[in-house]
Symmetry: C2
């Protein structure tokens, strides 16, 4: 019987916990004897000019917005480089996907769009204040993502 390729999506951010979730995934879900699994790394950038300041109502100059955009792109690349290094150390090839917007919604919609079979993520991430105000991203995804969700906490 021909098995469908399994697509495993790992949501990564700058937190140690998300890198731990990725390592857990490599050790527990992706065995080297089984090539029918594809790993997708997803990083979600905040929407432009909203960032952590979205409650303040500031209007930013184009220079500030450009600087924030550059910072957010650099952060995304640095997160992806770090995640890929962890995968490469285990000879696992990955695909990068960078999303933009509200993390919890973007993660759930990317699961649908890419038809992911499993979503792996840390339980924190995306900032203490946002989490306190709006609930954790992982709570939302565990409820709403259209595939099994694995929440890996930092030990």
């Amino acid at each position: 019987m021909e098995e469908k390729e399994q697509k495993i999506m790992v949501a990564v951010d700058q937190s140690q916990e998300s890198m731990h979730a990725l390592s857990w995934c490599l050790s527990n879900l992706i065995s080297d004897t089984n090539n029918k699994k594809k790993l997708v790394l997803l990083h979600v950038k905040p929407p432009p000019a909203v960032r952590s300041f979205d409650t303040g109502g500031y209007v930013f100059s184009p220079e500030v917005i450009a600087a924030m955009e550059k910072y957010s792109m650099e952060l995304a690349n640095s997160v992806m480089d770090k995640a890929e290094a962890i995968c490469n150390a285990k000879d696992i090839i990955t695909e990068r996907v960078i999303g933009m917007g509200d993390a919890k919604n973007v993660i759930c919609s990317t699961v649908l769009k890419l038809d992911a079979d499993t979503l792996v993520m840390g339980s924190h991430g995306y900032g203490f204040f946002k989490r306190t105000l709006f609930g954790s991203v992982s709570d939302h995804c565990a409820k709403h993502a259209k595939c099994p969700v694995i929440i890996v906490k930092q030990p």
Copy 2:
């Protein structure tokens, strides 16, 4: 390098969803090439004489309590038999653990007591009204269980 045996705990109840979570676990976490994994089936019975009636303040006769106890034990055995049949069909040996009390607390404390490495469960289960009143069991476990938690929804 000697690997530690991985202990995977699956919380099962009478819901179709929890059996689906178990099947997912067998297909995705337990490969037959790897014997270093042990599967534990956990079913949590409600505490005696509380059942679904715990908001009514009824006092039950000993006969009614005994009948409820018998029903709850039969239900536990029927759930376990069903879960074991799914595992046996894939030649996977399991261990049964039956707990009693508030499901979310018992699941988290059993993870600790048995030193489980992974917890697998459905996202619903344990009744609509309880879930609405007290929040879902899986939400609680995803936050509080001391190991990675996999929430598998019925497709």
